[in-house]
């Protein structure tokens, strides 16, 4: 399958997605649209973590920290000055926080860039650590961001957070950023730099012997991952319209990790499919938290039950299919065509 055919098919797929979004906007209710939005944001977050963990092999649990940075930066930039005056009741905002303004695209971009900057700053000391230690240290970083958000009331409005963030993040913005993330990550992974990331994951010593500046490439992957985590956080903030430090706990990182592991570490396709499936399931599974009636007898609903179900599901996946649904495999048009024509052949004969 030639490069041209592939490009045409990709554009067609994007057009079909566009048509679907256009249809969804007119025909689906707010709840369904919210789920679609969450799917887009979760895919962005999953791709970001997959780049860091799945492709470069850096066990990072700092996702929530980068998301918080992105969300706060973006919210400060899109909240109107009058809104900010109303919000900051504990202590008045700094002048630069009060006056900062930017259009939505620039605000999301800024959220991503500042998250990437923090990625570089914490990456320089932390990326010298191996495996589990890196996980611990990045987890610590995410907690530091959260505690700072509580204790810098003149920037973040402390524990109260922001309310009434303008809901610019509609289907088009979310899926636009989702496609952009997908494009960048695919281009990156398919290039020789992507091969280098995978080389570091497979064998760091051999990568060094091949002349690869391992530290520099780890930092690069970490910063790009942090950028998209920041973007995801920024979109999420605008999507749910309310952010506060409690939102950015480890549970948020865990959700993203669950998507990446379920889909397959090192599979972009896996992250996309699992992003869709798990977002939908997380909503659908809410029924386990509702009270259940057996005739007259009532089993009271237990809040948080769906996370129990999900954790059990994750344990099962790790036990029975450690490499996730897709392993390291990827979808390609050539593969799809092969499947399709094979089936057609079988029907023909």
């Amino acid at each position: 399958m030639g490069a041209k055919t592939n490009a045409v098919l990709n554009i067609l797929a994007a057009a079909v997605l566009g048509l679907f979004l256009w249809w969804a906007e007119g025909h689906l209710d707010g709840y369904m649209i919210q789920i679609l939005n969450l799917i887009a944001v979760n895919i962005i977050l999953a791709l970001s973590l997959n780049l860091i963990y799945g492709f470069t092999g850096l066990f990072s649990l700092g996702q929530a920290g980068f998301m918080a940075i992105g969300a706060y930066v973006c919210s400060i930039l899109i909240l109107a000055p009058e809104q900010k005056e109303m919000l900051f009741i504990l202590e008045p905002a700094y002048d630069w926080v009060q006056t900062a303004q930017a259009p939505f695209f620039v605000a999301v971009m800024a959220g991503g860039l500042i998250a990437a900057l923090f990625g570089v700053l914490v990456g320089i000391p932390l990326l010298r650590l191996g495996d589990d230690y890196l996980g611990m240290a990045t987890l610590g970083f995410a907690e530091i961001v959260r505690v700072l958000a509580i204790n810098l009331p003149r920037v973040t409005n402390g524990a109260l957070g922001f309310k009434g963030i303008p809901d610019h993040a509609n289907l088009w913005w979310n899926f636009g950023w989702c496609l952009l993330t997908l494009f960048v990550v695919i281009r990156l992974i398919r290039s020789n730099s992507g091969n280098v990331f995978k080389a570091i994951r497979d064998d760091e010593t051999a990568a060094k012997a091949m002349g690869i500046d391992v530290f520099r490439h780890k930092l690069l992957s970490f910063a790009i991952g942090a950028f998209f985590a920041g973007v995801g956080g920024a979109l999420l903030g605008s999507l749910v319209a309310t952010i506060d430090p409690k939102m950015f706990t480890f549970v948020l990182t865990f959700n993203v990790l669950m998507i990446v592991v379920t889909g397959g570490l090192g599979s972009i396709t896996g992250s996309v499919l699992a992003g869709i499936a798990i977002t939908v399931l997380l909503e659908w599974l809410r029924f386990v938290e509702n009270p259940v009636y057996f005739g007259d007898w009532e089993l009271p609903g237990i809040p948080g039950m769906r996370m129990v179900v999900f954790s059990l599901a994750l344990i099962c996946i790790i036990l029975f299919r450690r490499e996730g649904f897709m392993g390291k495999r990827e979808f390609s048009w050539g593969w799809a065509a092969g499947r399709f024509f094979k089936k057609a052949d079988r029907h023909g004969t």
């Binding site: 020789n192 064998d203 690869i212």
Partner: protein, 261 residues
């Protein structure tokens, strides 16, 4: 400095705590030669490799490459300066394809980087196509062109060894270190390997230093040999001299072999 030595070590010493793994290793390797480093297990041969390639920082001594001091330089810079190596226990990028393994070796000489790839710049596309082309040619040199699309892990042992050499050649080295290239090969394969090493020396203009236990290989292709025992150099010279050196025979076979000889 010896006339036209590509690599020279001066008094290299490596201590791990109280243990001296290599003591006072000095050698000058003539440009364009194939030379060997031998010795019983645990003699410190791989430690020497690791000091030359920057994986260990020597406790004492110097490594000069083309006259420049590279002692203590990190491994990726050593490789960039023109020294490539293979590993005793093969270290391929197992999840990647055979072709990708070689392409990764080409990366350090690549000019366009990640952002040119993301922006789909033609300069990047052209360069990566050239790299894939060159990698295929290198695979042809080691006879793996048919297996370019296979996952590296799935190759048979001998093919993995050859892939590791192709990957090392991809970095455009002037000096190649092979750590036990004939390990696990049958006599036929060993014979081929000897021809192959001579061939790449000629076509890639290399100097080759190899660690090897197979004496047929060592005596067959090495022009000069250094012998290590318990970290100390006990002999150095051309193969014929080494073969009849009583100290070497003692190190390999023990005292009795000598008295019975």
């Amino acid at each position: 400095m010896a006339p036209d030595a590509v690599l020279e070590t001066k008094g290299l010493t490596m201590r791990f705590g109280g243990l001296t793994a290599v003591k006072n290793f000095s050698a000058a390797i003539p440009r364009g030669s194939i030379v060997g480093l031998i010795g019983p297990n645990g003699a410190g041969k791989t430690t020497c490799f690791n000091m030359i390639t920057g994986f260990y920082k020597p406790s004492e001594g110097q490594v000069l490459f083309n006259g420049a001091d590279i002692t203590g330089t990190p491994p990726h810079r050593v490789c960039r300066s023109g020294i490539a190596r293979t590993f005793q226990n093969i270290r391929l990028f197992g999840n990647e394809t055979v072709l990708e393994n070689v392409m990764i070796g080409c990366h350090l000489r690549q000019k366009t980087g990640w952002w040119q790839a993301v922006l789909c710049l033609p300069s990047n596309r052209r360069e990566e196509r050239a790299i894939a082309e060159r990698s295929r040619e290198l695979l042809k040199v080691v006879g793996l062109q048919e297996l370019a699309g296979e996952q590296a892990n799935s190759l048979p042992y001998g093919a993995q060894r050859r892939l590791e050499i192709a990957r090392a050649l991809a970095t455009r080295p002037a000096f190649l270190l092979l750590d036990e290239p004939a390990a696990g090969m049958n006599p036929n394969e060993t014979q081929e390997l000897m021809g192959f090493i001579r061939e790449i020396r000629r076509s890639f203009d290399l100097t080759v230093l190899l660690i090897e236990h197979d004496m047929k290989v060592v005596m067959g292709i090495c022009e000069h040999i250094w012998v290590l025992d318990y970290g100390e150099m006990i002999a150095a010279g051309p193969p014929e001299a080494i073969q009849s050196d009583p100290k070497v025979i003692k190190a390999y076979l023990g005292e009795e072999a000598l008295t019975h000889a």
